[in-house]
Amino acid sequence: MTGADLAASLIGRFVAGDRRAFDDLMRAEEDRVFAVCMRIMGSRADALDATQDTFVTVFRKAHQYDGRAAVSTWLYRIAVNTCYDILRKQKRRPAEAYPEGFDPTDTAAIDEMGAVELRPELEDALARLPQEYRTAVILSDLHGLALPDVAEVLGVPVGTVKSRVFRGRRQLASIIGNRPGSPNHPNNDA
């Protein structure tokens, strides 16, 4: 049984009344959900809140899953919407979420905190992207979703997704390429 089949089966069992299937589903998908929340929210605390809210929503809405999209796509959609809701409530950008005293360019601090798994300059550049570009790039290029699946998650046409992903990448290249010390920077000898 593939992961997708297993997730669909767990949803079906849960909807049919098997409470333990929900726990199994959560354990199977929580890393994926946490990862996308972490990348959208930019802070562990917010990512954990978003992950929690996502699974509470899954618990409540499981019977609405109609099987048209993969469970993972459906979960991503809930997770992304949950993150957006939290961000809207916070009315702040993820880049502001670093804890006090945390230097996003300090690799040791990053490793110690375990908060940011991307290269610091890339993390910083991602945080500077407009939210819709950032989410599209995260889903497409970091989580490997096909563009039609990203479109399904975001509820926008595939053409819009392409535009967001491509522009997002272009901006990332531009931001990173113009940063001193970055691999593409003209003054960087490395």
Binding site: E30, L48, F59, R60, R119, D141
Partner: protein, 251 residues
């Protein structure tokens, strides 16, 4: 370079083109196009090298605990179809009227008990009717009957989440926001309110023959059972499960 070319090159860099000949030609022939291609490729390489954020064991445990705590206390209610809701609304209303008549009927029937004796003999308080022809006994009988009405539950359709009534009469529809919920006895005197989002599926209805809309169920906190009834026979409980662990309630 046109936007179309930019997008073509970006898609080419991402490996999403079925026919890449045109994009490849652009990249080979135009320095600007090549730079664009390289930029996309470089970003993709950086992103591909990123590891996935992981929860610590403590965070994972906290997540499990918090999700469990959040869903634990929630009502798990099956949304009924509009049709069955209407059935239950009418059934509830009819039951309320019936109970009201049964409850207060004997009081009004006292003076003409001879006429209604056949009927009242099957009604609550019928045992008191036996001596209705005796004036003193009639007075004595009437008082406790009326008293029973006053002290007993007031059968009515519920409003809000406050329910009173007996086995049948407290079927009803809650607030405007909770129209999807039908509530049975068990919420009496409770401060429990329906969840904001009442769009739930019951979790504990294994073994029941589920037909769309034919079950009414509501569940609540801790050891209060989820009960199941068929819309055409609301007086007979089909099954009941405890909401917290889905164990069946003994008949």
């Amino acid at each position: 370079m046109h936007d179309h070319d930019l997008d073509l090159i970006a898609e080419y860099a991402g490996g999403g083109l079925e026919d890449s000949s045109q994009a490849a030609e652009l990249v080979m022939s135009c320095p600007e196009c090549r730079a664009e291609y390289e930029a996309h490729k470089q970003v993709l390489v950086w992103l591909a090298q990123a590891s996935s954020p992981q929860m610590t064991p403590d965070e994972r445990r906290t997540l499990h605990d918090q999700v469990a705590a959040e869903v634990e206390g929630e009502a798990i209610v099956r949304q009924l179809s509009r049709t069955s809701r209407r059935v239950f609304v009418w059934a509830g209303a009819a039951a309320a009227v019936l109970i009201t008549v049964l409850a207060i009927g004997p009081v009004f029937m006292q003076p003409i008990s001879g006429v209604f004796s056949d009927i009242s003999g099957r009604l609550p308080g019928a045992d008191l009717e036996a001596s209705a022809t005796d004036g003193a006994a009639t007075t004595a009988a009437a008082a406790p009957t009326a008293g029973a009405v006053e002290q007993g539950p007031t059968p009515s359709l519920g409003t809000g989440s406050q329910y009173v009534g007996d086995e049948v009469a407290d079927l009803g529809v809650v607030t405007e926001d909770e129209l999807d919920l039908l509530v049975r006895k068990g919420l009496n005197d409770s401060t429990v309110t329906a969840p904001e989002d009442s769009d739930y599926q019951p979790q504990c209805y294994q073994g029941l023959d589920k037909q769309p809309g034919d079950l009414v169920a509501w569940a609540n906190y801790q050891r209060r059972p989820i009960e199941f009834y068929r819309s055409d026979a609301p007086e007979r409980r089909l099954a009941a499960y405890y909401a917290d662990d889905c164990t069946e309630v003994a008949p």
